[in-house]
Amino acid sequence: MTATTPASLEPALLEVRGLGVDFTAPDGSPVHGVRGVDLTLRRGETVAVVGESGSGKSTTALALMRMLPGNGRIVSGSVRLDRTDLTTLGEDELRTVRGARIGMIFQDPMTSLNPVLTIGRQLDEVLRAHAREHDAGHRDRRARRRRAQELLELVGIPDPARRLDDHPHQFSGGQRQRILIAMALANEPDVLIADEPTTALDATVQEQILQLLAELNEKTGTALLLITHNLGVVARSCDRVLVMYGGTVVEDGATADVLGSPRHPYSAGLLAAVPRLSSPSGTRLYGIPGSPPDLSLPVVGCAFAARCPSADAECGTVPPPLVADGGAADVRRVACHHPGGSGVTEVPRRVPSEVPVGAARTDTVDGGAPLLEATGLRKEFGRRARGGRRDPLVAVDGVDLRLDAGETLGIVGESGSGKSTLARILVHAHPADAGVLKLRGSDVTRPSRAALRALRQEVQMVFQDPYASLNPRMTAGRIIAEPLLARGGFEDRAARRRRVGELLTQVGLDPSAADRRPRAFSGGQRQRIGIARALAPEPSVLVCDEPVAALDVSVQAQIINLLTDLQRELGLALVFIAHDLAVVRQVSHRIAVMRHGRFVETGRADDLCDSPREPYTRALLAAAPEPVRVPAAA
């Protein structure tokens, strides 16, 4: 790089050049997880690395710490921290960098703390690990305990002196992430790498953690490298952003520039695919067509070419270098043959659905009996308090709801609000303890064995995790045929195969997919299989529990649009459960906000989002991060 560095900018603290990481697949073939990544981090700076699963962002983070899993190795490039190249250090020297000069926070706070050690012990371990070379004062156990207490106070854990002796399971998810941040900061590192630090947390907690990270960045001057898939998080907390796709950096620039006017078609598409809370109900989501590249195959040309609206012959053969795009190289770089070219600007525009379903529906169906109706649903789980007294956990506490054919009811709530328990009651996975559940006017609260069989066909479920909810040993065809067999009428193999083919086509997959096993499909495709399975018994109600939570942003739109299309075609009633209010608003006609097992507010989707009545709804709305801070005239 020959471009001159502006004098105002400090020299790089962490400088990654041409980093390449290969993994060995189980069959021995190489997978190029990261290809030629350049990254610069200066003292006190906050930089985001954005990308979807498989983009190489987490691999890059792990490679910086030389913590790649056993089948991964750095094959090219350098990682310089000040003047030291970390890629050439030995195990012992690396240990003096890890935790001391570079701290790291991981995604899942529930599993990232050692369950059998007290918090005090775990903080002590971190301080002790660097007592020799870092801070001689930490050789004394009591000094370490004092420091541990300070750290807990710093990250906002109340009553730190006492809580040092508690175990991880005695803390909430948000508190655990705070403790992990405290551990990462214990030895005052120069760099803090946070890999999806808020992904596993509720929106309101996510907000607190981001604020904490920003404060600490200001207070301690630690540079922050934030790895995330969430553009809203980036907009909120980072100076600069790198967008990664297919293992390489495709765009790099100031956050406001990249999010405000993306130059790479992928950045633009990603930005367009993020559901926005400000978009009214019924807005059709934008999804990038196709799926991410298979990195076990050699990438010829631009990795995004196959999904790009403005790709031409050059894109398919010549890999575009990451070069300055107007102005100084430090300011903005993009790896595209046609940066900001035609096609890109048209992509992000939204296509409103032709029928504004939201308004029309509620008026027309109000008169007739609802398809599904629940009054006073209640479910509690046995639990004992410390003294052995019965202290039941009330998961669902007096929920009333009604659902008409062709309508979507969105249910939003944070983890533990009882939304999944409610879903399980609705699909008769377990009976309600109290209340009445009616389907087409007849009481189905406690159905007989025979009635239950019929009921389960009427009400089907789409699950959250498309990776765990499909049996890996069955072919897609068998998975979808399973409910057909249970239902009867499809004893003939050929008829069954025909029906499976129809269902696959209906969810946008090729009928030939029937012979492949789940492993051969991407996350989005697996969720399509899950939907086909749910549609097989021809249900009238589909309960979707976080159907897109495990999917990438560019893919979630495809699934959501598929669900709304199917609803229109088949007249399905949908219960759409999610934590993401923006998604829920766009797919739902009505929304119910759930908290502590109750519906705190119910209303038409747009009314509820535009003029919420309850303070809790307002808090939820405020906590949802928008990718661009003020999209004044969008």
Binding site: G99, L113, N114, P115, E125, H167, H169, N187
Partner: protein, 314 residues
């Protein structure tokens, strides 16, 4: 912890009651009763009936059971039918030796199991991991009577470094006793050590793949501390349960090993008692073994809860 233990006691008592019924019943199901065995092959019907009456065996089974348990609760084990002498004395003689052998084997099981498990899970050399795998497979595949004979041949006959059998008593000559104990204890321990080693290896490997190990690695914790302070405390609880169950195996296996090494434990008593249909001896012996096993399980649960704070809270 105290309350945790208290909660476990009722179920332990239930197990003991059921075990006593089963022990009592099974002996009655064995063909031939004590009276026929005592009277000898040529005895007349009348003399057998007389003996039966004398021993109270003509009473209803329920009555016999109540008598047995009632006496037991008063601490009266009564006289043996055939072996001769008081049951309490007979059991007392062999109990110490069997407990010594079992405890010795238990210590070896833990030591060898721990070493094999840690080596198998953490060694960076493929050859070391291969040897561990081979050792555990071998120890599991070969039954104690074969290892027993092999050990005697090599260490007692071939090199003559250890005695081939017998016992001198731990309190009479501790150093000598350890020499006598080593071979039978090792022979008894090997299969259990292999099971514990394998299980610990898997459990450790599982622990090493967990997120909290990644957290500690990223914090710069050394490899050795990762193993002993972070991974092992998580890998141990299930292994402790397994060791508790293996203790039962060791108690049962001791009977066989005692025969190979002429170890004067309860094994011999059990054998003679059983062939003579000596109900009091066998019943009390079996119930004693069950009681020891139940106590070991209780102890296991307590250790488990001590190792894993989440259990205490349930």
């Amino acid at each position: 912890m105290g309350r945790y233990l208290l909660k476990r006691i009722p179920s332990a008592l239930v197990v003991l009651v059921i075990a006593s019924v089963v022990v009592f019943g099974i002996l009655r199901l064995v063909p031939g009763d004590a009276a026929t065995a005592l009277a000898g092959p040529d005895a007349s019907e009348e003399s057998v009936a007389a003996i039966r009456r004398q021993l109270g065996l003509d009473q209803a089974l329920a009555v016999q059971y109540v008598h047995w348990i009632g006496d037991l609760l008063r601490g009266d084990l009564g006289p043996s039918y055939a072996v001769g002498g008081e049951v309490a004395d007979l059991i007392g003689e062999g109990f110490g030796a069997t407990v010594e052998l079992t405890l010795g084997a238990l210590l070896l099981t833990i030591a060898i199991g721990l070493a094999l498990g840690v080596l198998g899970a953490t060694s960076r050399r493929r050859s070391v991991r291969g040897v561990v795998q081979a050792l555990t497979t071998g120890a599991l595949a070969v039954p104690p009577f074969v290892t027993g004979v092999l050990l005697v041949l090599v260490l007692a006959v071939g090199f003559a470094v250890l005695p081939s059998g017998g016992r001198v008593g731990l309190f009479e000559a501790p150093d000598l006793e350890l020499q006598y104990l080593l071979l039978p204890a090792l022979c008894l321990a090997l299969p259990s050590a292999a099971v514990v080693g394998r299980y610990l290896k898997d459990s450790l490997q599982q622990a090493f793949s967990e997120d909290y190990i990644r957290t500690a690695t990223a914090a710069g914790v050394s490899r050795r501390r990762l193993l002993w302070r972070h991974a092992l405390p998580n890998a141990l609880p299930p292994v402790v349960t397994l060791i508790g169950m293996q203790t039962g195996q060791l108690l049962g296996g001791a009977v066989l090993v005692e025969a190979i090494f002429a170890w004067p434990g309860l094994g011999q008593l059990a054998e003679t008692g059983l062939t003579a249909r000596d109900y009091p001896v066998v019943q009390d012996l079996l119930l004693l073994l069950v009681t020891v096993f139940v106590l070991v399980q209780l102890l296991t649960d307590v250790v488990h809860a001590w190792l894993d704070p989440r259990i205490r809270w349930e």
